[in-house]
């Protein structure tokens, strides 16, 4: 029962990404295989050098760091999104696999969630 959680909005401006991540953490806690896919504006979750202290939120980088520890299998990232936001795959805050989201990718997952 492999699950893919898609994050397509940047962090901090709204809450949907955090609640998507909570779903991923829960799956991992219940030993269900789960991967995260960052698409479009969502690639900004992986930007290095974030510091949300002054806007009084938790910096999401630390949460993503916990994701690997808690058993989230893969961080997939949309390569088109990376280039749209001027980000290099080797300068991200986490180890990622660059993908081109399409049918070949999605068919590997039984459940796909996009909040």
């Amino acid at each position: 029962m492999k699950t893919l959680i898609i994050v397509d909005k940047p962090p901090y401006g709204d809450w949907s990404g955090r609640e998507a991540l909570d779903m991923a953490f829960s799956l991992a806690a219940f030993d269900q295989p789960v991967s995260l896919l960052f698409v479009g504006g969502g690639v900004n979750w992986l930007r290095s050098g974030q510091n949300a202290e002054n806007i009084k939120q938790k910096t999401v980088t630390r949460q993503l760091g916990a994701a690997a520890v808690f058993g989230i299998e893969e961080f997939l990232v949309d390569s088109e999104g990376l280039s749209a936001y001027g980000m290099a795959a080797d300068a991200l805050s986490a180890d990622v696999i660059c993908v081109e989201p399409g049918p070949d990718l999605y068919q590997q997952y039984q459940h796909i969630v996009c909040l």
């Binding site: 898609i6 989201p101 399409g102 049918p103 996009c114």
Partner: protein, 101 residues
């Protein structure tokens, strides 16, 4: 039909899309469609009926949402089928994998 890594055959996907055509997710959904998938447009996504030639698979649209918004019914040449709520239910029973965009 493509095989997964584990060797089991996967059913095609029913994609359910409720975003307007100018929403980024409309494009992500389009990019995810395989030839043997199906797509149903609901809520604000029915504004995308006019761009149906961009879809590479079977396309349905929820009649109530089309009617609410005063959109013209698709012509016979457009290969879009209007469905009512029971029709949508039937689609979800037919496709074992469903993705909501």
């Amino acid at each position: 039909m493509p095989l997964t890594q584990t060797g089991t055959e996967l059913m095609p996907v029913l994609h359910v899309l409720n975003k307007s055509p100018n929403h980024p997710r409309f494009g992500y959904c389009l990019a995810a469609l395989a030839d043997n998938d199906a797509l149903i447009l609901i809520e604000n996504a029915v504004f995308g009926l006019g761009s149906a030639n961009r879809f590479r698979c079977r396309v349905y649209a929820l009649q109530d949402d089309v009617k609410a918004r005063g959109l013209p019914s698709p012509s016979a040449g457009e290969a879009i089928e209007l469905v009512d709520l029971p029709g949508w239910v039937t689609l979800t029973a037919t496709y074992s994998r469903i993705v909501h965009w």
